[in-house]
Symmetry: C2
Subunit: 571 residues, 2 copies
């Protein structure tokens, strides 16, 4: 079998070779599976006419450092709005020709139709011709309670199921209030069951109920769970365990950690453990859990914050009204993402500009830099949403990609970042496109004037200055003081980080990622790449258990794993 | 003047153009400065014989997926030790020829001599022929109190000054203990005055005194300072303000925020505000500060954790003994970094392997993934140390680099990361080299056995499994389940994260960055790239102030800044 993955960024051999641990797979032509019902609608990214145009345009991209190119008028004009946000792309290396070609790319790739299809509940998570999850992708249905609800059969059915869970959630919230017993929540989940809810919690912590405290446990590292026990009283605590399958290693282990803690403290765990899981999973068991809230296969982990996954945590911490406003903001962006005009559709435009930077200007990463301390985990959440969705090397027909898929996404808040990695962004040999996020007002509305300006003004002035400095650069006689410039950035602006605006921003990036995935022709909704590590970890643990129990000989050998494990013994 | 910066990763125009905001600089041949005393010892990276050899070797790099290449024996053999750590490079794409060429590169670039020179106090922060900071680089002298102290005149003088401050710090710590008044510290500083101390605090939080609480304020965002006020009593609080120059915008603003808070609470700020600053700076003023601790120009911000910058915070939080052990660990790694044998010198070997991945295998980023939750901010700290040091585009003779300088450094802890961005690392079109960090024992020693193994064993099994999975990959009939493999990683192992081992790890990365910078011939110790943004932010703030005060006309216009600012008004 020939290579199915090419590595265009890597000049070294791109040929795939069987790894030497598992049985060789049957060699032969890739077979069509009979289980897939969906036919492909995917053309290859490189075959689009627009792609060819953009390749030509990329040979002489718009130069932000050319006198007269980056003007005040351009900044004023290069803007669009929706769902409480303004998006400014004046400091991107695009001109009218590129914008037009990107619009054509959106049409050729059928991006708006795909967004409509996704929101209506069509099967979007599939590989054409191969076994796959073969599912709808319906995180938007989890919040479709507001304007212009989707009328698709699958979508509206999913929304009704979500509404049932929301009502259960609301009733549970009232029960918690009435009991007055619970002050703390321990939220046990990993990946999508951690980063999104956690990021949202921090973004909106100003709205937290003063009588409620929140603790997260995600990592299988026992120090993570131990640390959360500080000042915790099991009688006053709710432990929410989140796992769709009911079998995530880290989550099951940490649940056991807390169950043992309840036992050691002599507290009955009834009325303390809550499950968020799929119907019929091993965790869907009323004898083990006070309450069970459901999630569904058509809501992927990294897209699950607006389901009961985030709902349990955030209604506990903030109350139902804040949660509802957050959903309202997400939903507003879902509707905005259907805007047919590319230039007026923020997530679509941002997606296309990202593709311009990544696939045509060959910039391998993308930095997300919010100028708001409350968004300090936002980049980590989007890092997951983006990289777990679009870090693939085959398209949804199983063909190898010949152009890079999703970028490496990273970032930290500004102004902190200015004193950290911005040196590289300004003066390195490598260019990093930046997405700035800023708000007119602070969240707590507690500010001082110092040397004639408020802190919030200083914050925003710095954000705008960075964007301009990256674009224009600066010449100097001293080479160490030269800024090459011509480094692209976009800016998101809103009035203030509220549940509504944060929800809209949150959904905006979910849709950016989906639009980009469809452009590259990949399936953004599975994560097969996490499986091999799990399998090999299990093999190492089998070896460790066998060694401990003296049952050597019954376990398959795993020389590489054993060699690594042996490194521990001589430390 | 011709371009001084080339952008080898970016196919677009590399020509520098003057940005349209400032006066054109005088055009002409680059002039020699008369103020520089240091002569260049820098050869060009591309001219080294070893570089040429490595370019040839990179055409057919060692293939980890070839049967018989990655063996248990290789893993066992590819290891070296020092200062409490073991470094394993068995899963890197290097063979004996590459290792030999990397050793030759180290010799040609004079890396060990430069490390010796740095630790002895020679001027290492300079540009040959241009105005520059022209300073020694002596963070190692801040902790040279243990074995084999450096006998260099500048180094030992710096160590004696540091000892004086340490004695002041110890005395202050005893005074705090005796008074019993202080329960909380607010640590005001940004960049190097925040990330290193903060990362260290979290890494060692298990050692925190139960009677002491810690709060960090870095960002000029007023929400950052406001948030830190929760549950804070000014009478019981110490506010430490860190700024070498005494004029960092964010820090000065946040100091003012806290002074106003003391005023509004009616509490005398005497015996509450502590300065960490350069001798003679505006902050070196006993009438404003209870105590002043000194730092020096030869300790850069990102390298300042082991000076009084970290010392004030960490002795308050942990007590002096923990601080002393942390310094001992750093110093042990400083001595280890002088090990002449490349293969037995961890930071040097890690630096060279990083260069192999970055400059020869063309991998633009480097992920640092600690399998320890207490190291959850370690990647953010190293991101700063590395990217602010080596994100440059000229060498220390002011010549443009023709090969990429420092990588983009990023990461989050495992196993969390496995459920986030590892999808991309395993299956993307792009390849990301990973540096894993693991420890045999957890920090709190509070673990459970579940399904036959402890959580710590599960954690380590996952880390080793990821390294193996990345290296070997896996073939499959279903293209979505194929893992290309041949993706490089290294693994750091220690017994446990203690003050000593954490100190050694901390210093190990400082030295990696220095070794890499010298190899590329760049000055890793300045940060000119942060200046332009500051200048432009000031211009925007002048405009904002003028507009507020109705003094338009006296301020220079700044159309780009004004256009951005206008975007706020219509939100």
């Amino acid at each position: 079998m020939k290579s199915v993955c090419q590595k265009p960024m890597n000049p070294s051999s791109s040929e795939l070779r069987r790894h030497n641990l598992v049985k060789p797979p049957p060699v032969g032509v890739l077979k069509m599976s009979t289980t897939t019902t969906k036919t492909s609608t995917t053309s290859s990214f490189e075959e689009f006419e627009a792609t060819k145009k953009l390749r030509v345009l990329a040979q002489q991209p718009f130069d932000l450092t050319t006198s007269g190119n980056l003007t005040a008028e351009r900044i004023t004009k290069s803007t669009t709005e929706g769902a409480g946000w303004r998006y400014n792309y004046g400091c991107q290396r695009i001109d009218e020709n590129v914008l037009t070609a990107l619009e054509e790319l959106a049409i050729e790739a059928g991006l708006l139709d795909k967004m409509k299809a996704m929101q209506s509940g069509e099967v979007m998570n599939f590989y054409n011709g191969y076994d796959s999850e073969n599912r709808a992708v319906l995180h938007t249905a989890m919040r479709d309670f507001f304007d212009s609800p989707n009328t698709g059969k699958e979508a509206s059915a999913a929304t009704e199921l979500a509404r049932t869970e929301l009502n259960k959630l609301k009733a549970w919230g009232e029960e918690l209030d009435n009991s007055g017993q619970y002050t703390d929540i321990v939220f046990v989940g990993i990946g999508g069951s951690n980063l999104g809810p956690r990021t949202t919690f921090h973004a909106l912590e100003a709205y937290k109920r003063p009588d409620r405290n929140v603790h997260f446990v995600s990592n299988v590292d026992p120090d993570d769970a131990t640390w959360s026990l500080r000042n915790l009283d099991p009688r006053k605590t709710v432990v929410v365990v989140v796992s769709k399958s009911g079998g995530t290693l880290e989550t099951a282990t940490n649940e056991e950690f807390f169950r043992k803690w309840y036992e050691s403290e002599g507290v009955d765990p009834s009325n303390h453990f809550v499950a968020v899981t799929g119907k019929g999973s091993p965790m869907d068991n009323p004898s083990n859990y006070w309450r069970s809230f459901y999630i569904w296969d058509y809501v992927g982990g990294r897209f699950s914050t607006t389901s009961t996954v985030g709902g349990t945590l955030l209604t506990f911490a903030f109350g139902f009204d804040v949660w509802w406003d957050f959903l309202r903001g997400c939903s507003a962006m879902d509707k905005h993402a259907l805007t047919p005009s590319v230039r007026n559709n923020i997530p679509l435009l941002n997606a296309l500009i990202g593709i311009w930077n990544h696939n045509f200007l060959n910039l391998p990463t993308c930095a997300i830099v919010p100028y708001s301390k409350v968004l300090w985990r936002f980049s980590a959440h989007i890092q997951q949403v983006d990289m777990e969705s679009n870090g693939k090397c085959v398209n949804s027909s199983g063909q190898p990609l010949t152009s890079p898929s999703g970028p490496i996404v990273w970032g930290e808040p500004g102004t902190d970042a200015q004193h950290s990695f911005f040196q590289l962004i300004h003066q390195s040999t490598d260019v990093v496109p930046v997405e700035f996020i800023g708000c007119k007002s602070s969240q707590f509305d507690n500010d001082i004037e110092y040397k004639g300006t408020t802190s919030q003004e200083k914050l925003l002035a710095n954000m705008f200055a960075q964007s301009i400095a990256l674009a224009t650069g600066q010449q100097d006689e001293n080479p160490a003081k030269v800024f090459p410039g011509n480094r692209p950035s976009s800016t998101f602006l809103t009035e203030k980080i509220t549940p509504y605006t944060f929800g809209a921003l949150f959904a905006c990036y979910e849709h950016k990622v989906a639009f980009q995935g469809w452009t590259w022709g990949i399936n953004s909704f599975d994560q097969e790449g996490v499986q091999l590590g799990k399998v090999l970890a299990t093999r190492i643990l089998e070896f460790v258990t066998a060694e401990r129990n003296g049952t050597d000989g019954t376990t398959d050998t795993f020389p590489l794993g054993e060699a690594f494990w042996a490194q521990l013994k001589t430390l």
